[in-house]
């Protein structure tokens, strides 16, 4: 266990170095958040059709999304990709660690460090200047925190599938880009999921992506009662088990057919 812990720690500290990029990212996210809010409020307030979420709920939902923007994988760990492409992945196999666990620990840091770096200032700015609200209640806040933890573990399991798939498609950037975009769209970060057509709701809820952003956000904004967290955690747990199992299977297959490139 200590091996995995140090892997994660080292990776985390490396990623914390990119502060200038974080400032630029913060600026972009604020800009996008403001534009999104202006567009969606124009729709909500100019139409007679009833809105499934109130204006303040929508605004808070958008800012949560902008703050946690880095949580969902839409790229992959560049280092692992290089390892696979260059053939150095052979060294990874020699380590006395379980490969899946080792890469998972790396991925966990890969997702947490930038998220922490971005989310704290984003939330502060959004709350002070742009109308983001605190959680509906103390219970809602606690439920949100729990669901977010589940979301983190889930998003890493999702990311692992993308990483491992690199073993098959050495130049799979197109596919990864596509999967990333679909995942983004179905998670609610582009357009809040409650605003999707009603018939699409069950489909979106069945997919794992909505458990990353949409479900925790609904708890935070009070669109779902705090006790719904139990169901959400169960859903996340099932998806994590499925994805980890599938990921391990894929990795085992990949290692068997792995051709070490270069020489």
């Amino acid at each position: 266990m200590k091996g995995y812990w140090s892997t994660m720690r080292a990776r985390f500290l490396t990623l914390l170095q990119y502060r200038a990029a974080a400032v630029a990212g913060l600026f972009c996210q604020t800009f996008f958040g403001l534009v999104m809010i202006m567009i969606y409020s124009a729709f909500i307030s100019s139409s007679k059709a009833p809105s499934p979420m109130s204006l303040p709920q929508m605004i808070t939902y958008i800012w949560l999304g902008q703050a946690l923007f880095q949580l969902l994988p839409w790229g992959i760990d560049g280092d692992i990709a290089t390892l696979i492409r260059g053939g150095n992945v052979a060294y990874e196999l020699l380590r006395p660690l379980d490969l899946y666990g080792y890469w998972y620990a790396r991925t966990l840091a890969q997702r947490t460090a930038p998220t922490l770096l971005r989310s704290v200032p984003m939330v502060i700015i959004a709350m002070l200047c742009f109308g983001m609200r605190p959680p509906e209640s103390l219970a809602a806040g606690a439920a949100f925190a729990l669901a977010l933890l589940g979301a983190l573990l889930l998003t890493c399991a999702l990311n692992m599938i993308m990483v491992i798939s690199m073993m098959w498609t050495l130049t799979g950037e197109g596919m990864i880009y596509l999967i990333g975009t679909v995942a983004m769209f179905c998670s609610g970060i582009v357009l809040p999921l409650p605003l999707f057509p009603d018939w699409a709701q069950p489909v979106l809820r069945a997919l794992p992506f909505s458990a990353v952003y949409d479900a925790p956000f609904r708890l935070y904004t009070g669109l779902l009662p705090p006790e719904a967290v139990i169901g959400i955690l169960a859903r996340q747990f099932v998806w994590i088990v499925v994805l980890v199992f599938f990921g391990r299977l894929l990795l085992a297959r990949g290692c068997r057919k792995l051709v070490v490139q270069g020489g």
Binding site: A24, L34, S47, S51, V190
Partner: protein, 266 residues
């Protein structure tokens, strides 16, 4: 050899290079095609739920969506050289470009014509044609002309923005990521009528990053809609020229940057 022939040669080389990896090209193009398609899906979903937006319908917004996306994809394909520009300044590679007896902008634009951008381009064209069909108006020669002019004006604007972004590297040795907010954020925001935005944002989109002049104002003239903001028809028809003016200004700033440049020497 004149500049256009040289540029044409650059493109031919770049395309031939990319076609060496045909499968990779295909998946990347499909990737961008689907990704931009999804963008449009979210506009559709909003209209599906709310019906209209300040009196605008889906085909009208789709027209602006098509205009700005086609315009952006035209220049986005040429921007690869400018994206890498910060690195060229850091390593001193820019010196080599300066030694050649051709304009630096031409050489940078000729670095690569990123073929997978055809994904966004074709998706924009499809939405544009769909919108033109759905609007059920009789298209006059003038309207089509204005549509083309606005799209080209938009392409000029985006090219100017890319040049400006690269220019900042002369001072910061790193091209500023913040410009992404204006490029991608601009594409996103200019798909909707300006009336839905707050005053400060409208002014930003008209005077600072003048995207409204290549989408919203010409679209009003094309659709024959009165403008709640009170602009005249003549202004709406001529406003795409502001995109061209923006590009010319960007070139001037670039020249100042080149004069200011002193090599890192490494």
């Amino acid at each position: 050899m004149n500049s256009f022939r040289l540029y044409y040669r650059y493109l031919a080389i770049s395309i031939r290079g990319q076609m060496q990896y045909r499968a990779s090209f295909l998946t990347q193009t499909l990737g961008t095609l689907a990704a931009t398609g999804i963008e449009f899906l979210s506009i559709w979903a909003l209209f599906h739920r709310f019906g209209t937006l300040h009196g605008w319908t889906l085909p009208e917004v789709a027209l602006m969506y098509g205009m700005v996306n086609v315009a952006f994809s035209l220049t986005d394909a040429m921007s690869r050289g400018f994206d890498a520009f910060g690195r060229m300044v850091r390593t001193g590679d820019f010196d080599r470009l300066l030694l050649r007896p051709r304009s630096t902008v031409l050489q940078l634009a000729g670095q690569e014509l990123t073929m997978r951008r055809i994904g966004r381009f074709s998706q924009g064209i499809v939405v544009l044609i769909w919108a033109m069909h759905q609007l059920q108006m009789s298209w006059s020669f003038l309207q089509i002309g204005l549509l083309v002019a606005a799209t080209l004006g938009g392409a000029c604007f985006f090219f100017g923005l890319i040049v400006l972004q690269a220019t900042t590297a002369f001072w910061t040795v790193e091209s500023l990521e913040m410009f992404n907010a204006f490029t991608y954020g601009g594409v996103y925001a200019s798909q909707y009528p300006m009336t839905i935005y707050r005053g400060w944002f409208r002014r930003l989109m008209t005077y600072v990053i003048p995207l409204a002049t290549v989408t919203y104002f010409p679209a009003l003239a094309i659709l024959g809609r009165p403008d709640p903001l009170g602009t005249r028809l003549l202004f709406q028809c001529l406003s795409p020229l502001i995109g061209v003016a923006f590009l010319l200004i960007a070139f001037q700033v670039w020249k100042i940057g080149v004069r200011h440049y002193c090599s890192t020497g490494s």
